[in-house]
């Protein structure tokens, strides 16, 4: 009788975590620096989480978009031990539609999801600070209509700064083309952005590895992220996590400058 210990290494299903990052010109300076620092830190934390997670092995994909979109992880999703972060720079427009088209192309058996049984529902983390400069609505309709992986993926959006178009982010993270404002988390300072990227990544890896209905995954992810982020009250105001929230007037939180992202507002 084949003993389980004699069977070839039993593999955990792969949980793809995909970062879709805005690298347009407005992200330059402190914002892209924060993203780079956060991604360096996050991968280390994810390695620990993955090691202790019996039900899923994490693979990372990074898709950046500015004037066009491109996969930073070109050959497909990479295992955490093979993952390295090469700092991104920011320049160009905000072609969100191109990013959605790329997701449509690669979230498929002929793309990066090449196994019959190997993959759990992906987690997609969108991050942007501005307005799309291409036909993002057409691209979103196409990918929602034809791509079952995108449709059921657990999606969450990070709105960076006050100029981010939260309605667009809510629509992209929504289901069946309907916006989900609760899936958009706003952040307005570098430390919070770094923490949020880390918290979202780790929480997504734990929530995404369970078998469940896709909408349940998104709701649980958002609940857990909100809980983690509001545990440390010095970094973020809970109101920022509520749907439709706008920036608040806590000067102490934002610092001296009216625009927290201006050069004189930051270290």
């Amino acid at each position: 009788m084949p003993n389980i210990n004699d069977t070839e290494r039993v593999a955990r299903k792969v949980l793809p975590i995909i970062y879709v990052l805005d690298t347009s010109g407005s992200m330059s300076g402190d914002r892209i620096t924060s993203v780079n620092e956060a991604m360096h830190d996050t991968v280390d934390v994810l390695r620990d989480v993955s090691r202790n997670n019996p039900s899923a092995e994490i693979k990372i994909g990074v898709l950046s978009f500015d004037s066009g979109a491109r996969w930073i992880t070109k050959g497909g999703f990479v295992y955490l031990e093979d993952y390295f972060w090469n700092d991104l720079s920011a320049n160009g427009l905000t072609d969100f539609g191109s990013a959605l088209d790329e997701l449509d192309r690669k979230l498929s058996r002929s793309g990066f999801l090449d196994s019959d049984v190997g993959y759990k529902v992906p987690v997609i983390i969108f991050m942007s600070d501005g307005y799309p400069t291409d036909d993002w609505m057409g691209a979103l309709k196409r990918v929602n209509d034809s791509n079952k992986w995108f449709k059921v993926a657990t999606k969450i959006s990070i709105a960076v700064g006050d100029s981010a178009d939260k309605e667009v982010l809510a629509t992209i993270a929504g289901r069946n083309g309907r916006p989900n404002h609760e899936a958009v988390i706003s952040v307005n300072d570098t430390e919070s952005l770094k923490k949020l990227i880390r918290v979202v990544s780790v929480t997504a890896s734990m929530v995404g590895s369970k078998s469940r209905v896709a909408s349940d995954s998104q709701d649980e992810l958002l609940r857990e992220v909100k809980r983690e982020m509001t545990d440390d009250s010095s970094t973020i105001d809970p109101d920022d996590l509520l749907p439709g929230s706008s920036s608040h007037s806590d000067d102490a939180f934002y610092g001296v400058s009216d625009d927290p992202w201006s050069d004189d507002g930051w270290d």
Binding site: I4, G76, V78, S115, P122, A214
Partner: protein, 412 residues
């Protein structure tokens, strides 16, 4: 046509093979199953209402449940069912999980059509509102196409394997066991091992059921064993290929980092060499102007001689500082180059080991033809570490600038 005891049953069962009627007959069966299931769960809910803990866990839906809506949702489940008679095999499925069939030649198949709504960790369920329509089915005439075994497993089984081929291999092993010992022996073993399967495999609950014709299984044991050998290699090859693909980007990145570190070291070495030369020149100049009998100073006033000597000392002191800075910089970039070398070297070795194992697997098969799609052309370069460019030394990788290292340590 085949004989049965009941003429009515024969007519009903014959319709299973009639394309004009088979779907209607099977949908009728499915409707009965779903209807009976719903009755059973509603009765269970009456006698065992949700506990407080269960109500908390179902908080997202409890309001609907309390209104009596969608109560089936509480009992959501997938289903695989099989019925084998002397004449036919009928298989039904709702949701995920897999049902594999072994022909009398030992070939394995999954004959029930797949529902693309079931993928990743998403599945349809008996509790869906259109559960009856979602059912898939398969009928086989056993008189024409006898089977050795039909085995079904929940998704916890397939989740424990890297590929469906590997999962098929596991089920082949079960049939082999039944053929070599007995079906009863197989069941006893499964009852002991399945909890361990859950613990060390997918982590999900695991159920396996089915039927095996012991005599037929005995006849195909050798065929199944041979196929499993190939499947094992194919699975391993696929995993290695996946890992090589994953490694290719980082390998190229580490190589680029190493090349940059070597260039920096070369540049620092040039500066250091120049600093040494300058220092040695200044030492020589100071010695020249240090003696009173120096012909160079003949005819010059004492004041001028003193000025020249002081300038020589200043220059020597400046060049000494420059030399120390150049030495520090060189040590730093050499250390960075060493780190880059070690990282690239060990990662490249791991990559080469995987590649070598893949090549070995392909060589071990019959011209690789049983490993479709698993050639050794993987993405990414196979990069040799740069050790060939470095001087061999007893020191831990002093690199091509071994002479400079010796100078820094004060070795001759």
């Amino acid at each position: 046509m085949y004989e049965t005891d009941s003429g009515e049953a024969a007519t009903w069962e014959n319709k299973l093979f009639d394309p004009d009627f088979s779907e209607a007959v099977i949908r009728q069966i499915v409707s009965s199953i779903v209807g009976n299931w719903r009755d059973e769960i509603l009765e269970d809910l009456e006698t065992s209402p949700l506990s407080e803990q269960e109500r908390v866990e179902a908080s997202a839906y409890i309001d609907r449940y309390d209104r009596g809506e969608r109560l089936e949702h509480i009992y959501g489940t997938t289903l695989i069912a099989g019925l084998a008679t002397s004449g036919y095999l009928l298989l039904l499925q709702q949701g995920d999980g897999r049902c594999v069939l072994f022909s009398d030649g030992g070939e394995v198949s999954q004959p029930i059509p797949w529902d693309d709504s079931c993928f990743a960790n998403v599945t349809t369920s008996m509790c869906d509102e259109n559960a009856i329509d979602e059912f898939r089915f398969y009928v086989q005439d056993l008189q024409q196409n006898p089977v050795v075994a039909c085995i079904a497993g929940t998704d916890g089984v397939e989740d424990s394997f890297y590929s469906l081929d590997q999962m098929d291999g596991f089920y082949r092993d079960l049939v082999i066991e039944a053929g070599e010992t007995s079906v009863r022996e197989l069941m006893d073993q499964l009852n002991k091992q399945l909890p361990e399967f859950t613990a060390t495999g997918s982590g999900d609950d695991v159920t396996i059921c089915g039927f095996i014709d012991h005599e037929a299984a005995k006849r195909v044991v050798d065929v199944l064993k041979l196929e499993n050998e190939n499947v094992g290699k194919k699975s391993e090859a696929a995993r290695i290929k996946d890992r090589l693909n994953s490694m290719s980007g980082k390998l190229a990145y580490l190589k680029k980092r190493l090349v940059e570190a070597e260039a920096l070291e070369a540049s620092a070495a040039q500066i250091l060499n120049a600093a040494y030369a300058e220092y040695e020149q200044c030492v020589s100049d100071k010695e020249k102007v240090g003696t009173d009998e120096n012909v160079f100073l003949d005819g010059l006033s004492a004041q001028l001689r003193k000025w020249i000597k002081e300038r020589a000392e200043d220059r020597l002191s400046e060049s000494e500082k420059s030399l120390k800075t150049a030495q520090r910089d060189f040590q730093e970039v050499s250390y960075q180059r060493e780190v880059a070398f070690e990282e690239h070297s060990s990662y490249a070795e791991e990559y080469r080991n995987y590649q070598a194992r893949l090549d070995e697997i392909l060589r071990l098969t019959e011209s690789g033809k049983s490993l479709d799609g698993c050639d050794s052309n993987v993405a990414g370069e196979i990069v040799e570490p740069s050790s060939g460019n470095y001087e061999q030394s007893n020191e831990k990788n002093p690199g091509r600038f071994g002479v400079l290292w010796k100078k820094l340590r004060g070795d001759s």
